[in-house]
Amino acid sequence: MNNLENGSAGRLRIGIDVGGTFTDFVMTDAVTGRVALFKEPSTPDDPSRALLEGLQKFLAHEGMQPSDVGGMIHGTTIGLNAIIQRRGATIGLVVTKGFRDILEIARCRMPSSFDLHAAKEVPLVPRARVVEIDARFDRDGTLTRAPSESELDRVATELNALNLDATALMLINGYAAPEAEARIADALAQRMSLPISSAAAIWPEIREYERTLVACLNAYIQPLMDAYFARLTEGLERIGVTAPLLITASNGGSLSVGSAVARPIETILSGPASGVMAAVRQAAQSGMENIITFDMGGTSSDMAVATDGTAGIATRTDIGGLPLVLPVVDVNAIGAGGGSIVWADAQGVLKVGPHSAGAHPGPVSYGRGGLEPAVTDCFIAMGYIDPAQFGGGAMPLDGAAALAALETVAGRVGMEGEDIAARLAEGALAVASAGMAGSLFRTMAERGLDPRDFVLLPFGGAGPTHANLLAEEIGIGRILVPQAAGAYCAMGAAGADLRRDFVRSLRTLLDDASAKAAESTFAAMEAEGHAWLEGELPDVVDRRVERSADMRYAGQAYELRVSLDGVEDWAEAFHHEHERIYGFRDTVAPVEIGTIRLALIGAGQPLAASVATGDGAPVKARRPLFHKGTWLMATVHERGALGAGAQIPGPAVVEQPETTTVILPNWIGSVDAHGNIIIERAPA
């Protein structure tokens, strides 16, 4: 399975996450149990450069050789950025006659009812590159319009004339006959020199617009991703890394480079997903199963919910204004990030965001030309962040400029007197917290969950800095700040499982016969999954299958996803879930089974548990912290010097190169055996 048993060769497992500003590396050493972090400035023009250079520096810094690397798992945002910025390939689309406008119409909704100037999203394939074909299925999957040879010739000729990089194919009701649609795609492919993705073959789920998008998005980013992975693989070979490379996926798992090239669409939201998966594993290590993750980065904050040790999976997400129906770890944007602008409107009312200074020019304190103060500047004004120690001292900030900019805004909201920069900053963070709390409450209300039953797990550069304020606002009593909080997506990558999701839409009344048919479809999906896994990494022994179905009462317009793992009575499982979420069950209406889903998971190598590295909680300095309008003296600690069992009563600040953790008055932090800081309300 691997060569860990042979001593030190291949002892390192490396997770890499490419962000907009930094490329993060996490190294776990199977021999020593040590976890090391490293950051290299990203190179957006060719992200593989920072990756290769950073990897070499990191290995050198840790005294390791390329041959010590036993496994690498990598997440990339190339595909996502190409979609958001509409910089993907020139693609075409072939659709059933009568449906040329499928991307123009989409689901018919506008982004806003209140904005008379709202525009719809730019279609991924312009109408001039959509070609109709006289082919379609009926609802049972029977090919009621079979394309003639001459029709296929005509379509291929038209496509060839469009000078495309790739094309997608979607036939109405193709979800009911994915193999037949794939054959028509093949027949077209033989007539032209162009790759073609069949929507039904990639994702045979009912709903033609969403399925078309899956195929189009896949084709749209494929050439870019293919080129990137080719450069990367070649570069790794050049620097002597021969370990297998895996790519993280949006569903929280990972896949081989070969699979990622074939289905790049499965990887586009992998960054945030990896962070959440790392949080779930970390919390489980510390015996916590119900968590809300809080990832606060430069431009925004995200949250995700895990219950019973499992992260929620969404089957409808938004990608740059387009819906994506592939299963992804359910991450929700909830508000401000460190770069969100703090400003006053014409009425003198204080606002935070939605505009962000991002990394360039960044907050005023970055000294890169930013003139409007941002949330990070507020952290400085309140003493949360020591400008001299930012990035472990590698990137000192201009605190005076931050204060001056905040004072200007304070003047606009009519503040006078002492400490107006700090007071304005405290107000701005309260505004930011209120906004985040509102989004969080809404997300929980939709799921019928009470946030007070959860542990908050912050990560990202600003997560641990803001987490205690947010916990106070929402009434959460416990925060877990992991050691690697500043490079958490890379951490998640390092521990990722292999995972692939499969889907089939059945749309039938649930009875003995249809359940039996569904069982055999599940079996076929599972066999396909095992075959896939063999091709990814042979000998993965620890495998798991997750099955679920979208079900509803006949006549209902909405479906509910129900886990079928270990379930005998599917209908009862549905009734039960319906009752849990909606508060009632309908024992009269028949139950319908819509789409069935299966995930095959091959467990990744368990990472060595992180350990606390220091002893006690030595105070390296003291500095004033602004709290509720006054300055309080806080203790300052070095994260790496903290030992298991250490107690840190607030107000306190814990510094590490990637982030700063703030512990407020009346809260107390304790360091557990894994080096996590658990912050709880101090006993009265």
Partner: protein, 662 residues
């Protein structure tokens, strides 16, 4: 107590968030389609004045922020005694709630939120329930002539007394609905939402103190009012008049007129609907009760929000606005006018406000949107008996063009922002084969900026004895107008068996019986264009032709752009464009021009003033008599086809004579 600018922002966020949580609770616990799928519900927090100081932005019906709760509350206090903790008011009656409810299927509830024995706020929710009795299932038909045909009227009553449901109220409710259990499910979902609101407001009191919570409504509403006034101050002062027509009132072929004068001065705006038609004997009356009602002010709210995205969504936005609606008119009907499909008239109210504000702000407002929402419903006999009833698609059109921007093709959130149905789910449920679901080329009004395309839905019926319902069809006659010389969009249409021997071109339908093998084709209007089409960049016209939004013939005819071999023929184009005339201002299209040629705006203003002076019981009959007498002088194709000078002259004279007798 004074609320500082930091706390104001925090509170604004928090109270809005409370209303969204209430909505999510309602949606999660509600049982019916209206709640789950079309989100025809809303929740809000009202201050002691009964106005909404917190309203959800991203969920539920967006347009009701201007509703007022106080009259319903006062009515209950007067008739049933003071409100106590645990009391919840229920009403659905537009007249007895003074316009809080606007048609009977909307059930509204209000709960006083107490702190230390004092009311500090009201929670409010409404749900469009499945049925409240009346003449037809679902309680809505355009052909109802009185509110009494529309179902059970619930005057403001205490549904809950000290936390217990009043049994006699429940008995009345259950006895008067075809779907009592579903209704009770929706009511319970609203009670759950109110309970979320009550709990969260109590939490806010705990966090910020009761004095802050009591001061929040006024602070938040004056903040919004300040924003609205700041926006309005940028508008050029003046008086702007605009009128438009609904094709008809659903029961006769006489068009229905809506007119408004918008007066703008010094950060204030006054809407005067004088000149609008008397209330109609069908169900499209808007029961505003003379107030600046939500249905009459939505466009103005959207305009403020468009120009200042940071404006909080609350009733303060309407403070700079005053209104006059003639009593007994379509926009302020007297009891017992039916109101079930008031949204049909509201679409046209949006259009006239859009037109009038467009005269003041020609660079901001677009030309007319397609102005129609048609839920195309199929009712199909089941092999096992009974019928399957299902929406095929809610068909809409596009949005109007404005300076610098083409309209949006095939989408329009003006009245509702409903999602469509995937064709595959439709085919999985119903025996139809959808042949074409797409945009309608050449339907968008030509202009320097093109109006959005309308849509086309064509399907083949697979079951004998199926019924197709197409309520809400509009602008089959009067086109969505163009602006600043832009052309109007194409009108809508309905064709059965197009291109086949049994082809039939139909107008509006209520219920149409079709058989297996029939094809049904709906086309929605295109939206209006903006600016002279001869000034549209020839490359933009070519791109539209290549994409198929415009045909090569229309490029030549409407834009003066000649194409040959897929390229612009520069010489021919220059020639065509030089020969073309140029329009200006609002372009209504030939049907409206023909109509106005007989029934001029001045004459219509006079007619409506005179009709309103008559007793309510006589208005409809006199109005019908006048129109029928004049129309009798004209060919039946009027106003679709132009009439001769002589015919027009005769008809005009007739009208003048009739006006004089009034």
């Amino acid at each position: 107590m004074n609320i500082d600018p930091v706390l104001l922002e925090i509170l604004g966020n928090k109270v809005a968030s409370v209303t969204e949580e209430m909505c999510l609770t309602l949606q999660r616990t509600g049982r019916t389609l209206y709640v789950k799928e079309t989100a025809d519900f809303a929740c809000a927090l009202a201050g002691l004045d009964g106005r909404f100081y917190a309203y959800p932005r991203s969920i539920g019906v967006s347009g009701f922020v201007g509703l007022e709760c106080l009259p319903a509350i006062q009515s209950v206090v007067e008739t049933q005694g003071a409100l106590e903790p645990g009391d919840v008011i229920l009403t659905n009656d537009p007249y007895r709630s003074t316009g809080l409810a606007t048609h009977l299927p909307d059930l509204h509830v209000i709960e006083p939120f107490f702190h230390d024995g004092q009311i500090i706020a009201y929670g409010w929710c409404f749900v469009h329930c499945s049925d409240v009795g009346g003449r037809v299932a679902s309680s809505i038909s355009p052909l109802n002539t009185e509110i009494f045909q529309e179902g059970l009227r619930i005057p403001p009553v205490k549904l809950m007394r000290k936390g217990e449901m009043a049994p006699e109220v429940k008995l009345f409710l259950d006895a008067n609905s075809r779907t009592p259990e579903a209704n009770m499910g929706d009511i319970r979902a609203m009670l759950a939402a109110l309970s979320t609101g009550r709990r969260r407001v109590a939490q806010l009191v705990g966090q910020h103190g009761v004095e802050t919570l009591k001061s929040a409504p006024e602070a938040l509403m004056s903040y919004a009012a300040g924003k609205a006034e700041a926006v309005l101050r940028t508008f050029p002062a003046g008086s702007y008049r605009f009128s438009d027509y609904l094709d008809d009132d659903a029961a006769s072929r006489i068009p229905v007129r809506l007119a408004v004068t918008v007066e703008i001065a010094d950060g204030k705006v006054h809407l005067d609907f004088t000149g609008s038609d008397p209330q109609v004997a069908t169900a499209m009356n808007i029961p505003s009760c003379g107030r600046p009602h939500a249905w009459l002010t939505l466009r103005m709210l959207a305009l403020v929000q468009t120009l200042d995205h940071s404006a909080p969504l609350n009733a303060g936005l309407l403070r700079p606005l005053s209104i006059y609606t003639p009593l007994g008119s379509l926009v302020n009907p007297e009891e017992p006018a039916a109101t079930g499909v008031r949204h049909a008239a509201a679409i046209r109210v949006n259009d006239i406000l859009n037109g009038a504000f467009g005269l003041a702000l020609p660079d901001v407002l677009p030309a007319a949107a397609s102005g129609t929402v048609i839920p195309i419903v199929m009712s199909e006999p089941k092999a096992t008996g009974g019928r399957i009833v299902q929406v095929i698609e809610p068909l809409i059109g596009g949005t109007g063009a404005r300076r610098g921007h083409d309209g949006v093709d095939g989408r329009d959130s003006g009245i509702s922002n409903l999602a469509n149905n995937p064709v595959e789910t439709v085919e999985a449920e119903l025996g139809v084969e959808v042949l074409h679901y797409g945009l309608r080329p050449d339907s968008g009004g030509a202009g320097q900026w093109r109006g959005g395309c309308g849509m086309e839905l064509s399907f083949k019926v697979l079951t004998d004895g199926s019924h197709v319902l197409g309520r809400g069809m509009e602008r089959l006659m009067f086109r969505p107008w163009g602006q600043a010389g832009g052309q109007p969009g194409q009108p809508g249409s309905l064709v059965i068996n197009e291109g086949a021997p049994r082809e039939r071109r139909l107008g509006k339908i209520d219920i149409l019986e079709v058989q297996a093998g029939d094809t049904v084709t709906f086309r929605t209007p295109g939206a209006g264009g903006f600016g002279n089409p001869m000034q549209r960049a020839a490359e933009a016209v070519l791109a539209d032709v290549q994409a198929g939004f415009v045909t090569a013939q229309a490029a030549r005819r409407d834009y003066g752009v000649a194409l040959s071999d897929g390229k612009i023929d520069l010489e021919a184009t220059t020639e065509l464009r030089q020969a073309a005339g140029s329009g200006e201002g609002t372009v209504f299209g030939p049907e409206r021009d023909a109509w106005d040629g007989i029934f001029s705006p001045t004459a219509m203003d006079r007619l409506n003033a005179a009709l309103l002076a008559l007793p309510l019981s006589q208005r409809q009959a006199r109005r019908r008599e006048i129109f029928e007498t004049v129309l009798a002088e004209l060919p039946s194709s009027f106003p679709r086809n132009a009439v001769s000078q002589a015919q027009a002259e005769t008809a005009r004279k007739k009208l003048t004579t009739l006006l004089e007798t009034l």
